[in-house]
């Protein structure tokens, strides 16, 4: 009898403990089911930091469009963070239906993992880049250090703020733009390029892990003389702090192409393939393109881009990742992999 009662008590307590765990785990099962309800549909858009304002407006635009087309209410859950971090979370099981990230390479990691089908780059127009941007300099009002172009950044006493290319998508664009510029100088060899880049990065005083972090460091915490920034970020900073900063466009920069893609595996699982595809395709509509322009992204539609010629410096010479660096795969291997050029410039 004793033995029996002992066991029964044990069982009760154990099952209690297990039940509490089970309750935890089951928490999410329920929430999945409401995505399948016919009148409303929900998708998740995992994006990177600076697109918050853009997608907040675009989601409304798209919801109205979808309601008119299909009569369905669509809600979009947004997630923002560093581009690489966001891609990783999707890779690790964050079930995004669409990803709208800073780098083609980040999305390609998802393809390698089997979440996105091959050939996604050709899925949508313009290499699946509905809007583009470039890298510019943000300096303090009056440009006290007289920064005009990339070669001013290597001068002693100039403090540069840029994120870490190992962890930030934006930072890779910065690095490559600088590299391209130093490559175009007369008498440039790979050795001189490395030296110049090294000089530039030795002027970097804070190497945040993400583009947003760098911007905050420069704008809010007053570090450094110049911030290497996405053009749209730079404009945003001007808007937030009118009169404190100036944008300097260098003579040469890089065409930064944030990419978008449907995460096929997740969309299939959620039954949201149609709406996800439409969500991305609609980014190319005139309304959406205009919205991108208003949020300081360069619309990929040339006609709409023209509408914003007072905002953007359309004369800037732009190199491109595919044309000048042989695509992301090659660029990553050459510059950003462990032990590659970026690591070398920090070796003493």
């Amino acid at each position: 009898m004793r033995v029996k009662s002992f066991f029964s008590k044990k069982t009760v307590a154990l099952s209690l403990a297990l039940a509490s765990f089970a309750g935890l785990f089951s928490g999410c099962v329920g929430s999945d089911s409401d995505t399948k309800a016919p009148e409303t549909i929900a998708i998740t858009n995992v994006s990177y930091d600076p697109t918050r304002e853009l997608y907040e407006q675009y989601n409304k635009l798209f919801a109205a469009y979808w309601k008119k087309e299909k009569g369905q209410d669509v809600t979009v859950t947004q997630s923002h963070g560093g581009s690489g971090k966001q891609a990783r979370s999707v890779l690790e099981g964050n079930e995004a239906d669409v990803v709208t990230l800073a780098l083609e390479g980040d999305i390609d990691e998802l393809r390698k993992a089997g979440l996105i089908e091959d050939g996604w780059v050709q899925e949508l127009e313009k290499n699946s880049a509905p809007y583009t941007s470039t890298i510019v300099f943000l300096v303090r009002k009056g440009n006290p250090k007289g920064i005009k172009d990339w070669d001013d950044l290597v001068k002693p006493g100039v403090e540069v703020i840029t994120p870490d290319p190992k962890s930030s998508g934006g930072a890779r664009w910065n690095f490559l733009a600088a590299w391209a510029f130093f490559g175009k100088l007369t008498g440039a060899t790979e050795e001189t390029q490395k030296e110049q880049i090294k000089a530039l990065y030795s002027n970097v005083t804070v190497l945040d892990s993400g583009a947003r972090g760098s911007t905050t460091t420069f704008v809010e915490n007053g570090q450094g003389d110049v911030l290497l920034a996405w053009e749209n970020e730079a404009f945003l900073s001007l808007k937030e702090h009118p009169g404190d900063f100036e944008i300097i466009t260098p003579s040469l920069s890089i065409l930064a192409q944030p990419s978008v893609a449907v995460v096929d595996a997740n969309a299939k699982k959620h039954g949201t393939e149609e709406v996800s595809k439409a969500y991305l395709a609609y980014l190319y509509s005139e309304e959406a393109q205009r919205l991108a322009g208003q949020n300081y992204y360069r619309p990929s539609n040339a006609a709409i881009l023209k509408e914003f010629d007072t905002t953007f410096d359309l004369q800037i010479a732009l190199v491109s990742i595919d044309g000048d660096f042989g695509g992301w795969e090659a660029a990553t291997a050459k510059f950003f992999a462990d032990g590659a050029i970026f690591d070398q410039i920090y070796k003493k």
């Binding site: 928490g27 999410c28 099962v29 929430s31 999945d32 997630s79 099981g93 964050n94 993992a113 905050t216």
Partner: protein, 270 residues
């Protein structure tokens, strides 16, 4: 005379240190929160996403508290009332989460439950989501605050010995009665103290939760994560406004803690 001077110098140094290291950051949060007036503050605090984040934070802290309290009681009972081999190792194991970097803690759950983890196919088959969903956040919070209750209870129960429990058991009392009538009255304030500390940590956990959250707005954002997001969205004032909510909660918890500690000390004198 000399003694008095030393005394005031020492008190002064202590107060200065606390003021510089602790009070100033606290004040900074509040000042920054209100620098654009109450309206901005209120709109940041009453934002839908902020409220949802607060709800999630409270939910996660609540579940964490329940589980860690249960665990703490059982673990403390096992460790202090019995003799067995490997007790030292067990105590150390329980304490591990305490000194593990929150980043590593989060990573560990990704490695188990994430798409790359070994448990993923299993969960997939059952259509259960752990990481990048609420359960993952709760789990990470539990992990980080795991030893809090037991850490408070073990020394307390060790100090009081197990004679009283033995005496009660010898008279035929069963486990639950012994616990309720003999042990609980003795440890109740210590238990509450542990629970309060656990709550404080659970409400404020950032690193581990940030790794497993996925930052889904309105779904898996806790309040500290919301602060970080606002911060990186240039909405500094909003970030500090939401942060100030957390500060107020923290201060309330501290006051509670102080009251409890006062009681605890009084009981100890018995």
């Amino acid at each position: 005379m000399k003694g008095k001077i030393t005394r005031w110098v020492l008190v002064g140094l202590g107060v200065l240190f606390i003021a510089l290291m602790l009070l100033l950051p606290l004040a900074a949060v509040l000042v920054y929160a209100l620098r654009q007036g109450w309206a901005t503050f209120l709109s940041a605090v009453t934002d839908t996403y902020a409220i949802k984040a607060l709800q999630l934070t409270l939910l996660a802290a609540g579940i964490t508290l329940a589980i860690n309290t249960v665990f703490g009681l059982f673990a403390a009972w096992a460790i202090t009332k019995f003799r067995f081999r490997g007790k030292q190792a067990l105590t150390t194991l329980i304490d591990i989460p305490f000194s593990i970097s929150p980043i590593v803690a989060g990573l560990v759950f990704i490695v188990v439950f994430g798409r790359i983890g070994w448990a993923y196919p299993l969960l997939e088959a059952w259509n259960i989501k752990i990481v990048f969903a609420v359960p993952g956040i709760v789990l990470a919070t539990i992990f980080v605050t795991f030893p809090f209750v037991s850490r408070e209870l073990i020394p307390l129960m060790q100090a009081s010995g197990s004679d009283e429990e033995t005496a009660a058991a010898l008279m035929g009392a069963r486990g639950l009665r012994i616990f309720r009538r003999v042990t609980l009255p003795h440890i109740k304030w210590g238990l509450l103290y542990g629970v309060i500390l656990c709550t404080a940590r659970a409400l404020g956990e950032f690193g581990a939760v940030s790794v497993v959250s996925g930052h889904l707005r309105g779904k898996t954002n806790t309040l500290p994560l919301h602060v970080e997001i606002l911060y990186s969205e240039f909405r500094l004032t909003a970030a500090f406004s939401v942060a100030s909510v957390l500060v107020v909660i923290a201060v309330l918890i501290l006051i509670l803690r102080n009251i409890v500690e006062h009681k605890l000390k009084r009981e100890e004198r018995l």
